[in-house]
């Protein structure tokens, strides 16, 4: 049943207003961060309040404004959107705490700009999650691109500008070149760009053109980081870690996977994607092949990357294609796996980024080869890293196993047995590039064990300031990060474990999509 509700609009208005407050309090850091936190909590509660009625099988609707008939700015909340919205809004709360610890520990500049752009990006993410049609989705999609640009360029160094420009060029270039034609084509043939449960194209549209539109969608949604259009994502790692954590592990990249799933489920529909052919392959298979190539190739890049954040970024490229693969299999179990993977991956990946940031805050180390023996100094960080690694590889009881299981079952249901091999190989490669970090962290001998350790200045940190133990002291050893950094990453690790033990929670939403 479709019911009208203002809640989707509220979920977008609250952070909009909150971002205003952030600007207003620019001279008072504590109030500014307070505004961020309050906004994040309020938004999360609004999203939570949508759960009961959505679980009853309803979709929430709200039409804000119609430019011209059949293309409104409108919102619609269904299972897929709610999973995405829940994950993004919950992780924003944690990221806000984490940002406070991280930004203050490192004495970053331009923090108001940072928090403001962050809040606006969340506005756009919520908007994308709850969009009713491609027009609305496209507006928010572009909004995300523009407001993450200052975040990527945050350090304002030559390197940062260069990479931020690359980021912008890739995302804007793809969307202008391919996404707009695809949306216009959809409107031309279907008469609307609304999302509908089984696709919107009427019978009798020219097949070749439909295939072309589909390919344009795939090429246009740059945020899903298909190879070879992926290199903006590793480039964006120049941003501060909270940005990488929330935006380039959860919000931005999931928007990409989310858009592709919307195209497969709600624009074309399973039947049409299975029926349309490019050469001998159906479009589902084409998508699955692109996703598989991305999965494997990105994993190989991962093994070559020595910078920790870069490695995690390539892993994101690979994992995003899991979600697309799930949709492209065109089977219930595959879709289940794909949607679940949005949540499972989000919590595991944000944990990994949080850990990378925590390591940087505590030790200024950025490369994998420097991390030997660090786990003994920072046991909580590395324990969280280990749990996230289990989830990435897909080992029970971590969450990644559940989605991997459904993806594998889905690939047998679709009779695409080669994807079994892809998934298994990818899991193996995941183990190869993440597990050594944990092992060397806990068991390895650090080079500094023998050398004399240069004293590392631990700046005044919020968590430590509260306890009064570490204020401005110089220590010759690495210590665990401040609590503001540490607690969020422990929470995300635990959540990623809990999702694996109680997958029923997510399954409720996934069932709505079948």
């Amino acid at each position: 049943m479709e019911i009208d509700s203002i809640k989707p609009l509220l979920a977008i208005l609250i952070p909009t207003i909150g971002s205003g407050f952030i600007l207003w309090f620019r001279k008072k850091p504590n109030l500014r961060e307070g505004a961020t936190l309050i906004t994040a909590f309020l938004m999360f509660f609004v999203v939570l309040s949508m759960i009961p009625s959505v679980l009853e099988g309803n979709t929430l609707h709200y039409i804000l404004y119609s430019f011209w008939p059949s293309v409104p700015i409108g919102f619609r909340v269904d299972g897929l959107g709610l999973v995405f919205g829940l994950v993004a809004s919950f992780t924003w709360i944690l990221t806000s705490f984490y940002s406070i610890g991280y930004m203050r520990s490192l004495n970053e500049h331009a923090q108001t700009r940072f928090y403001f752009c962050f809040a606006v990006t969340l506005v756009a993410t919520m908007g994308a999650a709850f969009s009713n049609n491609w027009f609305t989705l496209f507006l928010f999609y572009e909004l995300i691109t523009f407001f993450t640009y200052p975040l990527v360029a945050h350090h304002e160094t030559h390197d940062a500008w260069e990479k931020a420009n690359k980021y912008l060029a890739y995302l804007l270039g793809t969307s202008k070149l391919f996404l707009i034609p695809a949306i216009l084509g959809t409107y031309y043939f279907a008469g609307s760009v609304d999302f509908a449960p089984n696709g919107i194209f009427p019978e009798g549209v020219d097949k070749t053109l439909l295939v072309l539109i589909y390919i344009c969608y795939l090429a246009g949604i740059g945020k899903v980081a298909f190879m070879p259009l992926h290199s903006w994502l590793p480039a964006s790692m120049v941003a501060p870690t909270p940005v990488s954590a929330l935006l380039h592990a959860v919000a931005v990249v999931n928007t990409g996977a989310f858009c592709v799933l919307r195209v497969i489920i709600n624009i074309f529909g399973f039947d049409l994607v299975g029926a349309l052919h490019l050469g001998a392959l159906s479009l589902g298979e084409v998508t699955a092949i692109i996703a598989s190539i991305t999965i494997i190739t990105a994993s190989i890049y991962c093994m070559k990357a020595n910078n920790l954040k870069e490695r995690i970024a390539y892993s994101t490229v690979s994992q995003l294609s899991y979600m697309v693969l799930g949709g492209a299999l065109l089977t219930p179990s595959g879709l289940t796996g794909g949607i679940m993977h949005i949540a499972m991956h989000a919590f595991a990946k944000i944990t990994l980024f949080f850990c990378a940031g925590s390591i940087y805050v505590a030790s200024k180390k950025t490369h994998v080869s420097q991390l030997n023996g660090l786990g003994r100094k920072m046991p909580w960080t590395f324990a969280a890293f280990a749990i996230a690694t289990l989830s990435m590889v897909g080992i029970p009881p971590a969450g990644g196993f559940v989605s991997k299981w459904y993806l594998m079952v889905g690939s047998t249901e679709a009779n695409e047995f080669w994807t079994l091999i892809v998934l298994a190989t990818s899991a193996l490669l995941n183990a190869f590039y993440f597990v050594p970090i944990v092992i060397n962290g806990f068991f390895g001998k650090s080079e500094e064990d023998e050398e004399e350790v240069a004293p590392i200045l631990v700046p005044q940190s919020v968590g430590a300031a509260a306890s009064g133990s570490l204020r401005g002291t110089v220590v010759s050893q690495i210590k665990e990060s401040p609590l503001f950094v540490l607690v969020p990453l422990c929470i995300t690790a635990v959540v990623s474990m809990l999702l694996g033990i109680f997958p029923e929670f997510l399954m409720q939403f996934v069932k709505l999509m079948q």
Binding site: I395, L428, F443
Partner: protein
Amino acid sequence: METAIPVWVIAIPIIGAFALFIKKDSDKYRDGIVIASCTIPFLLLLSIYSGATDGGVFYALSWLPGMELTFKVDSAGLLIALITAFLWIFCSIFSITYMTHEKNRCRYDFFSLLTLAANLGVLLAGDFFTLFIFFEGLLIFPYPLIAHKGDKAAIKGANLYLYVGVATSLLLLSGIVLLKHYTGGVDIAAVSGSVASTMSTGLKYQIAALMVIGFGGKAGLFFEHFWLPEAHPVAPSPASALLSAAMIKAGAYGIFRVVNLLFVPEGAASMADWLTLSNIGYATILIGTITMFFAVISALLASNSKRMLAFHSISQMGYIVMGIGCAAYLGKDGAMGLAGALYHIVNHALFKAALFLGVGAVYFRTNELDMYKLGGLMKNMPVTAICLFIAVCGISGVPLFNGFASKTILHHAIIESAEHGQDSILWIVEKIFIITAAGTFASNMKLFMLTFRGKRPEKYKDVQPAPLPMRVGMIGFSVAILFLGLFPNWLLETAIGPALSGFGYDAASHGYQLLYNVQTQVSGMGILYPGAETFSTVLHNLGSGLLAIGLGAALMFAGMKFGWFHFHVPKFATFDFYATKALRRLLNPWSTVVEKQS
């Protein structure tokens, strides 16, 4: 019988593991928790004995929609679970003093208990999905046990273990997913009927290969074995004992469930279905034989005693897998192979644990693992020497010790298979069986002689006997070895006999009748006492046992005299060389770059 006891059996060690952190610094508290968390599951398992022999114990936990975690305990699973819990009890007692040499005891105990939980989970699982979940636990939790020391060798061994485990478990997962796809379920017993009828022959072979190789990584089958000789020497001795005696059995158990249950046709199955099973069995026999023979040669050439024992673990797994293969090869008459495999799983658990603990006790006092550098410790450590001697007799299959019983049954099974198939290769297998037994005796007796007899190096003059908890641990296993050795039919009557039902064997067949008479519930197998067989059969059994021992003794003396055991296999001819090289390349692609820079 439906009861939640299987869940509690798994939950208690997990609860115990987390309870360790309440009072981290109290040794007494920690030891108490560890012993209790091993003993309570053992007692709980004993309490469901009657339920398990009488139709099985069931329990289901809901987890995912349509995917329940089910537990099903039959006599076979219960037997192995009991022996696992038994091992953990005595190894934990042993480690009370042994681990005083090591740091991070809390971490060790924590992961030891989690490993126990995962291991019991594998054995009590009712479907392959549940089994896989615990199998993955069994992959992760032992890692810190192996890498406990944290030096380079320890991490290398543990890494090899982990990556072989991850790779093979993915094969296993693929097999399970395919199985679910074609049969619609993963319940071991329920699926087995439909497998035979619904799948094409080629598919059966594919799934069997995926799953056997998947489980074989843990069991140390040939070409997947190379992690064992690296991982066992570096782990603390009680951990090696647990890994070798209990954990790798989980792999054998999996193979046993696949080969002996999954692919057994039901009721009026066609000849083709039985033929498929036979072929799977034949392949399994060959894998087992290659494994046992190859590993015993490596064991003879090893000088590090724990490395040698690791090779023996592989070799004995070869025996077990061969028995499993015989059971499948013989189809309805395969009771003998199955009983031999199950019996050998129990026996190997006991004597291999005793061997590792004995070697560990010597290491504890002398800090030396190279057997050629030891000698004459008989006077210093008499209890350890006697316990080790009992274990050596057990593993070599000397009459009156437990290994003799299972090896006799396995020997019967392979002879039956060879007669049944009129297959000359299987007769060669039978010869290899005897030669391997001889090699086992030679190698283990050599270990005993070099350690406890001969000339004592001057620096070991004042070596003290092993501390009391370590002696208690070793004596526990020795008593069990002697008991099973002196009353070989006891286990057949209480556990293995009842376990034979439910695998599709013909209860009227000769082998089944001998092993376990369903009506009278008596085993007539003539191992030490004639039972239902003639006295000459017993003599014949004893004869083949003694033949192997005689050959072994000759081999040992000749080898020691002419220095055969010091032959070093060139590096390029070992698996380990290539595996390590490949792994290093994969894991550290930048390592060469870093080295060049510095």
